[in-house]
Structures are given as C-alpha cells and as structure tokens.
Symmetry: C2
Subunit: 313 residues, 2 copies
C-alpha cells in the first residue's frame, strides 16, 4: 500500500512522544547568497542526529505487542541502525543489527550505545542479507528496511508535514535522495498538503543513480558511488521509485565542490552542523542549475552526523 | 540609572522587528552527561552570530532622530563592532568603528561587510580611545560602549527574558562573563522575573578577573588574559560590576580543557556551532565544581563565531 497523507498524520501522532519537533531556521546571508527565501528544517537536531529516527520510530511503534516482543532487525551501518536501536530501546524491545565487521568503530559504538544487539558479518551484501535472514528466523524479529518499507516512508514524511505546518506557503521543497525513503515520504506529504508545490531532490553527481533512474524510467542501481555524502550511496527501492516518479519534479545533481562549499557556508553562517548529505539539498540552490530565484524554498536538512576530526575543509 | 525589568521589556519590543527570537534547544545526551536538564538559548543563531546584536540594536533604536542622524561610534574589533555596524545600517545611519590596525582581516571584513566606517589606529588602548574621541568630536556621533552602557545592558537582558518566557520554571541560569554586559542584563531579567532563581556566571580560569573582583569587592582589571575564549578578555565596567555583585550568586572558573571539551561535545551532540565563550557557560556544568544535579538549567550560548580553519580539536 502506498502511504497516504492520513498515514503520515497518524505517524506524526504516533512518534510525537519520542521524536523532536525540530525547529525551522532562516538565515539572511544564505537567502542573499542563493537569491531565495530558505527555510531549513533541522533534522540534524533530531534524535540520533538524523531524520532516520522518524521512520524507525514509526515502524517500531506500529507493531502489535506480540510482534514487538520478538524485536526488530535490520542490516545497516549508518544512521538507520542507530535510529532503530534507539526506537526499540524506547519501546523496551530488542533490536538486532547486522553490521559489516569493517564498519568504523564510531558507528559500532553509536549502535551499541543505544542498546542495539550487533551481529558482525563479512562486508558483502550477500553476507549481510544471509546473516539478517538467519537472525530473523531464529528470533522472529520484524525486519525494518532502511527505506523500502511503508512504515519507514510514512515516518520520514512527518518532517515535511511539520515544515509545511510552520511555513504553509512554500513554493518548493528540496530533500536529498539516496534510497528515497525521505524523498518519497516528503513528496507525498508536500503534494497532498499543498497542490502545485514543487518537490525537487538533490543528489551527488558522483552517485547519480536516482537521476539516471528518472531518465530511464526504471531503477538503475548505484554502482561504485564515490561521494563525501556517505548517506546517499544506496539505490532506489521498489516502493520509493514509483512514488518519486509520480510526485518529484526533478532530481538535480550536485558536484562534490558544491556539496563541500554549501556545507561550510551553512556551518559558518547558520551556525549549525550539517552532514554532507544535508548539504546536497542546499547545493541545489547553491549551484543554480535550475532557477529558483525569489521563491520560498524549504530544505530538509537530513542530519548532522560528521566526524569532527575529519572535516573536508 | 540601573536598568529595570520594564526597560528590558521595552527593549524587547524595540528590537523585535530586527533581532531573531532565537530558539531554545535541549539535548538528551548533554542532560545525561551533566546530570541536569539543560535549556540552550541559541544566541549563536542571532544576527551577526552573537547576542551582541541585541544591545547594539537597542542602543541604536533608542536614539532620537536628531542624535541618530549623526551616527554611532565605538572602538572594538569583535562582535560588538559588527553588531553596531549592522544595527546602524538597518536604521540607515553611519557607524564609525575604531579598530587596531593589527585586527584579523576576517574581523575587518565582517565590519566592512555590514557597512561600518572603519578607522584604523595603533593597537594600544590609548590610541583607540583618542581616535574614538576625535571621531566623536568631528562627527557628533553617539558612543556605544560594548558593555558599560545602560542601553546595551538592557538589550542583552532580552535574551534571558525570552528564555524565561519559553521555560518559566528554570532553577538556574548561566551566562559567560567578560565585560559583564550580558551577565548584568541577564541577572536583572532573571531575578526580577523569577524570585529565587540562581544566576551563575562562567569565566575562563585564565581570565578570572571577574571572579577575583567578586572576592575583592572591587573591580580587579584583567591582566594579560590568555584563553581560547577570546570574547571574554575584557574587565568589568563601573555599571556592570555593581549589578553583578547584587544579583549574581557566584562566578565559576572553567579550565581551558573544560572549555574545549564542552565546546566539542555541544558541536557533536547538539549539532550547533558555538564559540569558546559560549562553551565557558556549558563548562560550569561540565566541570562540576558546583553541584547543580537534577536542576533545570538555562544557558545563554553567547555566540557562534569561530574560524573553521583553526579549530582547537
């Protein structure tokens, strides 16, 4: 079932006790720099530092008590794993997380810190999927995919819902696209709430599988993507792609330089820490490949998890 | 005249069209780390990136039209100069800024970018004061001191006013102290709005003149302070000191390591960019020299102006 606006509104109620209602910030310097009126939806301030908590939380709290008791599981080494672990901890149920054994220790520690039960495996997709399958069968836990899951898509849509409650007259809404969970949820919320609003995605030039998928009319898998925006390496999913095809005006690619420049500019001027994946959305305005001058533009800043010891500037 | 709560409320109305009402953020990790419920008043998101805009804006808009037409002037190389330049620009009047000729170019550019009319002088206090005096006589501009000025103190108090509107039941409010403009304004607002609230200041150990002044009962000038918190190098003023003596419970000194650690922690967990002077206030909780466990603690984050090329971590 494709999620509806009603589903998203119900998800907003469901996660309200657990998720932050993140603020929307504006910045005069940024507005002048990009010739638009920009509204930054700060999911970098969300629990676990990323919008991913919305979808994971909605999935965990959508489960029946009987299903929930057996726990949830996923394979991920990123923000989704941390988000699922925290949501499960809040509900008091186990979260089984499959991670490649070469994952950075900072990511292992984050998941473990939220109480996630980690199983390491070889760093291949086959090993991750077979390990997850074994755990699912052994425990009866419910698999929560990072993006190709209706409950997750619905949860991610709540960020745009809140943004449009705060700024109802947006002309455009921009989100980054990786697997498409945030983008598809955003596009449903935005186009259902406000007819005629333009939904645009930012994607790294160096990981432009969604851009190519839209042109081809079918999912083109991501192949050896190399971008600083490490949250956007995945391919679109069977659930997210059709929603994006139907509701997203276009996908705009952003260069690595554009990502880094917009990231630094937002840090310096807006005084907030955003990760490169967030900067990809800002980069759509920054590089001016499309003309959004004079418009009211909402940007979903996806997260703020960066290693301060390894900054690109 | 010592500013009153009524003055601060009037200042809040006066600056409302120009200043940001900054958000108050909370962060679970920080709360757990310091065993308190912390409310961060984000003046790092204020215009020019610091609370200084409140006082400068209040001073500029307090002037009669006739006085305003002759402009304002100050000697400063920091946030106050930028704040005064922007406030003057908004009112459409000149701001004459005296800066030492060895000021970093980033600071010169900031002031010039807001339209400030800069006069350079030798980097001594005598040269700064005599140059300012000459400009004042030549132009008839009104001097706006960075902190020893009722209009400035009153404007700075509006941050605490807003914080207590958002979180009325705070037990404690912490601000950093340099010249004492923010601290004195904060202490008036807080103690008048909520009887019994505790006002505590954070000060760098390496620039502990306010701490020593409180012990001595008289202003001890700052001598060769060496701290990363470059906004807190100045001595208390004749207006700010008596207010602080009367209304501030105590001044707590914070080590350089404590400043850097708390700054990095806030960046990593709260995803906001704060300057070292802001971290001095957080450091009061961080170093636990006094027991604030279990309390609701408001912190005025003074600003977010840092050079991203020269981070201390």
């Amino acid at each position: 079932m494709i999620p509806t606006l009603t589903d998203i509104r119900q998800a907003a109620e469901r996660i309200r006790p657990y998720a932050h209602r993140t603020p929307v910030l504006t910045n005069d310097s940024l507005n002048q720099k990009v010739d638009a009126r920009v509204f930054l939806k700060c999911e970098n301030f969300q629990k676990v530092g990323a919008f991913k908590f919305r979808g994971a939380c909605n999935a965990v709290y959508s489960l029946s008590d009987a299903d929930a008791a057996r726990g949830v599981c996923t394979h991920s080494s990123g923000n989704h794993a941390a988000a699922l672990a925290l949501a499960a901890k809040l509900r008091g149920i186990p979260a089984y997380i499959v991670m490649p054994d070469n994952a950075p220790s900072v990511k292992k520690n984050a998941v473990a810190g939220y109480g996630g039960l980690i199983t390491f495996c070889a760093p291949t997709l086959e090993a991750r999927e077979s390990t997850l399958d074994r755990i699912r069968i052994e425990t009866g836990a419910t698999v929560v995919h990072p993006y190709n899951d209706e409950r997750v898509i619905t949860g991610q849509g709540t960020a745009a819902l809140e943004l449009l409650e705060d700024v109802p007259d947006l002309d455009v809404i921009i989100a980054p696209v990786g697997g498409g969970g945030l983008l598809s949820g955003t596009s449903i919320a935005a186009t259902e709430i406000k007819k005629g609003i333009r939904v645009i995605a930012g994607e790294p030039e160096m990981a432009d599988d969604a851009f190519r998928s839209m042109q081809a009319g079918e999912i083109i898998p991501s192949q050896n993507p190399k971008t600083i925006a490490d949250g956007l390496l995945t391919s679109l999913g069977s659930l997210t792609f059709p929603i994006i095809q139907q509701r997203v005006e276009q996908i705009v690619t952003v260069s690595e330089a554009g990502i880094i420049e917009s990231m630094k500019y937002v840090w310096e001027r807006a005084k907030i820490i955003i990760e490169p994946s967030s900067a990809v959305a800002v980069g759509v305005l920054w590089e001016r490949k499309i003309d959004l001058r004079g418009l009211k533009v909402g940007i979903i800043l996806s997260g703020g998890n960066v290693d301060l010891e390894k900054l690109p500037f």
